[in-house]
């Protein structure tokens, strides 16, 4: 597991969960330790959608997600029961377990690919030689799907900006940003951060400001031709970048985030 400190629970760690029969994860885990069928069933109902979502985010194949989640939950229940383990943060524990498993799957798949590819190029001590088939750059580009060229630079740009944001923004700003990425309503983000709705609005305003500066700094580091390329892809993704005066760079607090219902936004995303 990724967090070794997550296996000890103190009395004040009572995270409420959406179960009428087992209102906290402590009660749920206690019932699982006793081998209650209802508790094991409840664990599946409560956490399978979250784990499927995490599997999707970890690029597990759609037709393998259900199996990965069920196998993981099965192993976790077995582990919890046999070792009488009571994770302090159950959701975090499950997600960490799934991410570990997904990473191992990817690693194994990569190893298999490497081995398979190696079989074509490495002939050991034989005197045989492989004659490589040459492809022109044009040929390689032409063989790619139509949108591959379009999405790659954008993905790279977003990845670099994400990297920069992860190092520059603080913990609360990151939580807020991920919440926005998830279309979490601002009231829920406020609750999560333990602040009032008003304070969350102010923080969101500051986050937009800070993030905007980061994005601008990033774009400014690009060469002119790279920037044009990125702008073109940003425009395709309906993200606008333009040359304007600094005085016009004020951001509104009530942007599109507050103007639509959370469920509507979630549905849009799906």
């Amino acid at each position: 597991m990724e967090q070794s400190d997550n296996t000890v629970r103190s009395g004040d760690d009572q995270f409420a969960i959406a179960s009428s029969r087992y209102p906290t994860s402590t009660l749920l885990l206690g019932a699982i330790h006793r081998g209650e069928v209802g508790a094991i069933r409840e664990l599946f109902i409560l956490y399978a959608p979250l784990l499927r979502d995490q599997a999707r985010r970890m690029s597990v194949n759609p037709d393998e997600r259900d199996e990965v989640v069920t196998t993981l939950l099965d192993d976790v229940v077995l582990h919890l029961m046999e070792n009488e383990i009571t994770p302090r943060h159950l959701a975090r524990y499950l997600v960490a377990a799934l991410r570990n498993r997904a990473r191992n799957r990817h690693r194994n798949a990569k190893r298999q690919r490497t081995t398979r590819d190696g079989a074509y190029s490495e002939l050991g001590h034989t005197r045989e030689r492989i004659v490589a088939e040459c492809h022109s750059e044009y040929g390689v580009h032409a063989a790619q799907p139509a949108d591959a060229e379009a999405t790659l630079p954008l993905r790279l740009a977003i990845a670099k900006l994400a990297e920069k944001s992860a190092t520059e923004l603080n913990r609360d700003e990151m939580i807020m940003m991920i919440g926005i990425g998830r279309h979490v309503p601002l009231r829920d983000i406020a609750e999560q951060l333990g602040i009032t709705y008003g304070a969350a609005r102010v923080r969101l305003h500051r986050l937009r400001d800070r993030f905007g500066r980061l994005a601008i700094q990033y774009v400014a580091t690009l060469k002119a031709d790279e920037r044009r390329e990125i702008e073109r892809f940003f425009r395709r993704a309906q993200v606008g970048i333009s040359e304007k005066k600094e005085s016009e760079s004020e951001q509104r607090v009530n942007g599109p985030l507050q103007q639509r219902s959370p469920r509507e936004k979630t549905n849009d995303q799906n």
Binding site: F15, F44, S165, R208, V239, S242
Partner: protein, 230 residues
């Protein structure tokens, strides 16, 4: 000065946040409150059909998991032993052979499938094989049965031999041999004992639980050892 249009800011933030989340950044999956909220939100966002499927999968999952846990526990508590048997020196029923077999630290052995005959008690079956009692098992009232059927696989496979301690009081989780109302005998795990009923479950999740009345007691004895089949 470069400026990102304000209406595009949230969209860009979302793209970046999703990217951060898809990577191994700790915050996206280590905030318990966020994950609990997300789990609930994703569950509420399921369609009716998806929710029904989850309910069905959860039932099956719970059944499989309980069976698997019980099987693993039984594997630990009942290590496989070598089967040492001999021909019975006397020709008699199980009941008649018990004292003689006990004197020679042996146990009468018969097929559980044979013991399933209508209206016949296990004691009335003729017995022609004896099982030699392992040294670490104290003398007592035992009977050995050769199992038929795969309901207790993978812990007890068809034709495995199990040693039954007679007159034992079963507790939840114990493996027992019980006599059913149709006079057949089964090896099962005691899943629960409540409200005058005993729930007998199989390790093989393909078999449903059986409920039997506690009174009169259907329990023949408790499984205390298993022996590798020939």
């Amino acid at each position: 000065m470069i400026r990102i249009e304000e209406q595009s800011m949230d969209e860009l933030m979302r793209l970046v946040a999703q990217r951060i989340e898809s990577e191994d950044h700790t915050l996206s999956y280590q905030d318990e409150r966020f994950l609990v909220w997300l789990a609930n939100d994703l569950r509420l966002g399921l369609s009716r059909a998806e929710r029904s499927k989850d309910e069905r999968d959860a039932d099956e999952f719970a059944r499989w998991t309980i069976a698997r846990v019980a099987a693993r526990r039984a594997e630990k508590t009942l290590p496989r032993r070598e089967l040492r048997q001999r021909a019975a020196p006397i020709s008699a029923t199980v009941a008649q052979s018990l004292p003689a077999a006990s004197r020679e630290r042996c146990v009468t052995m018969l097929d559980l499938a044979v013991a399933a005959g209508q209206g016949r008690e296990i004691w009335d079956e003729p017995c022609d094989r004896w099982l030699e009692l392992p040294d670490d098992i104290p003398s007592g009232r035992y009977v050995a049965l050769r199992v038929a059927g795969d309901s207790m696989a993978p812990v007890i496979e068809p034709r495995d031999v199990i040693l039954i301690q007679l007159d034992a009081t079963p507790r939840t989780g114990d493996l027992i041999v019980a006599r059913l109302p149709d006079q057949s005998h089964v090896v099962k795990r005691v899943a629960s004992i409540k409200e005058g009923r005993i729930e007998l479950a199989s390790f093989n999740p393909g078999y449903d639980s059986i409920f039997v009345s506690r009174d009169p007691s259907p329990v023949v004895g408790t499984v205390i050892a298993r022996f590798t089949r020939e």
